[in-house]
Symmetry: C2
Subunit: 441 residues, 2 copies
Amino acid sequence: MQHRYQILRPDWVVTVNSDFEVLQDFSVVVEDNQILSLVSDDEIADLPFYSEAEIFSLPGCALTPGLINSHTHASMSLFRGIADDLPLMEWLSDHIWPAEAKWVSPEFVIDGFKLAAAEMIRSGTTCLNDMYFFPDEVAACAQQIGIRSVVGLIVLDFPSIWAQNADEYLHKALAVHDEIREYSLVSSAFAPHAPYTVSDEPLRQIAMYSNELDVPVHIHVHETAAEVAEAQQKNGLRPLHRLDQLNLLNSNLIAVHMTELDQFEIERIAEVGVNVVHCPESNLKLGSGICPVANLLENGVNLCLGTDGAASNDDLDLFGEMRTAALLAKGSSANASACKVRQVIEMATINAARALGMADRIGSIEPGKCADLIAINLNSLNTQPLYDPVAQIVYAASSRQVSHVWIDGVIQLQDYELCHLDSQEIIARARSWGQKIKNRS
Amino acid sequence: MQHRYQILRPDWVVTVNSDFEVLQDFSVVVEDNQILSLVSDDEIADLPFYSEAEIFSLPGCALTPGLINSHTHASMSLFRGIADDLPLMEWLSDHIWPAEAKWVSPEFVIDGFKLAAAEMIRSGTTCLNDMYFFPDEVAACAQQIGIRSVVGLIVLDFPSIWAQNADEYLHKALAVHDEIREYSLVSSAFAPHAPYTVSDEPLRQIAMYSNELDVPVHIHVHETAAEVAEAQQKNGLRPLHRLDQLNLLNSNLIAVHMTELDQFEIERIAEVGVNVVHCPESNLKLGSGICPVANLLENGVNLCLGTDGAASNDDLDLFGEMRTAALLAKGSSANASACKVRQVIEMATINAARALGMADRIGSIEPGKCADLIAINLNSLNTQPLYDPVAQIVYAASSRQVSHVWIDGVIQLQDYELCHLDSQEIIARARSWGQKIKNRS
């Protein structure tokens, strides 16, 4: 078979390898869907396939691994801005859950996912860890669009449009898991919604399946102090302690939010390798609490970043999330040296790959990995002058400076334009949903 | 004299008047440099000068007052990213002050100001409250560029390239104040750097001049807990108490940062009308503390927003600052209803106008005010669907969606392009400074 070569020629390659090397005057060579090599500019013309390769000249650009959104509800982008300035439980009970009960359907999920995927690709995200209804529809849509995704196999105790009870949710979870095995870009994770919405028996089964199949478990945990207090009153246990008893605290667990943690819990999750997803903007906006990022980093916890759904953020922009994470960690710990630029870039790339069990395939620019890559053009008023490209990416750049995106070797954004998605059509459908929902809710 | 008319036709006019009216199907009519009227779309063609007016069709756009950056050191944009992940005093003493001693000159100040002005106009800022060396140069440059500015008449106890001692600073302050009286777009404020860098006698004189001339006093106050503790040890007084004794606590005071405030102080500044400038991103980045925004708003304090200098932010983007302010107020007070979208828009517009003594001229879209206006295009993936344009501006929009900017009736940004500033030339000069500073510092 004939190979296809692309040669990417940025000013800097931010490898996010284990030494966090930032290379100048290097090109990244992509063979088919994989990174073949990093070659110094002096030697690039000597490559045997140089004349047939497609060359991308990226002056002023930093090339980084594609960003990974470790927690989102992509299809909820259609609810973006539906209710603001409200606390979590009021926002959920009075606005989000009723709107979901009324509007969520396969059509809604697909249109919402496309809006989210377009926004994410446009802003440099190449992989998402999703949790929502109709994961089968989401998986098919993601594969078709070409955005790398882990779909959450949602499990709840109570009925929804997707299933009637925990048994049915679990049954469908396993069916979807099997159904999408052959997809090249999509895999799955068990997604019990939260300790307060899923009872012991389904959680125990999920722990067993997760262990047998080596599939991650994606769950909201310790999102607010109230959640922890109510659980203690109800079960006599903090939710993390209960999950520990149910055999869920291990390196397959992707624990989202985690604003309420005592020192014992932090040491315990570090010890067993639980992955934590920090969603700073959603946590701030809902007044949920602040994840102790500085402490978690000091204890060596594998920390990732998520936007959460657009309804509580209200964008799906990991550049904003990186910046907010870095600033908030410093501000909330009164330590300006906490959460340095390298750490926050790792949270949005290699740490996330590790949490998803994909560190051998994505999360850094290294030979043999999939070509999930983004170019960030730093030739902008707000990123000049430039003393350090990595600091500039975290503290000054806008996601609008992402000029090119490749996922699995396929170019998805070129010169700031989506290559395979029709923005105008996606926006028109989103607007039509917005009008329907606004008029009738 | 022949008048010049412009008619701006957005989808929404976010007036920021006292009722915070958001008008649909209205046009804003600009006569010369002023807002003449707001006219419903049905009646617009009946205006006598309609045929000679320049019409700006702005579909999908919200028109808002130009944003006001209430605290910045514009020229420091040339130090953007020079040192990161360091606490305030180390950052200042080991990096910023030595770099300033080595590099600051009239040429530096002008090139830095132009970079900042271009970035600010590009991101919807039409007025800035600046504090830096060579305010005479800054004033002339701002007037020439056409960006509304209040230049800070810097005062320090110690020598700098601008002056040798407090007497000379004060002398130069008054000279610059007189020199720029005739400028249409630029005015001045006394700018004693901070309580810990300016002694009682010059502060007393500034209080007197400020009162006589009705000129604002722009000062960093209570930026960190350490500043307050050291002052208590040195003077036996908290800095705000000392400023009160020196007759500085009144509605001419623009007190920047204010992260450390007790309830007595909050009530006192509310009572006497002190204006507070919140710089959330700079405070977070330097680990300085968190301004108690929710409490200040509850107490009716006039609260404004600043980016601070680009060296500690690292951008000059008030969209980011509005969003961070809204999120941080909720997160730090554990109250998702704190700092609502209306309040944060007011902080970046009318409240700032009030602090600068310009509420009769700028800060809202009302007949008779100067035409400082921005159009924000909400037809973007990340701002769809659209349930509420104001919430979308605060929580979802990027400053890159600012399509048009007028300052004093002059169009400064049209279809995302700067009209009168040469970005490429400004970036080239910034890059040249960056290389010089990087190689020799």
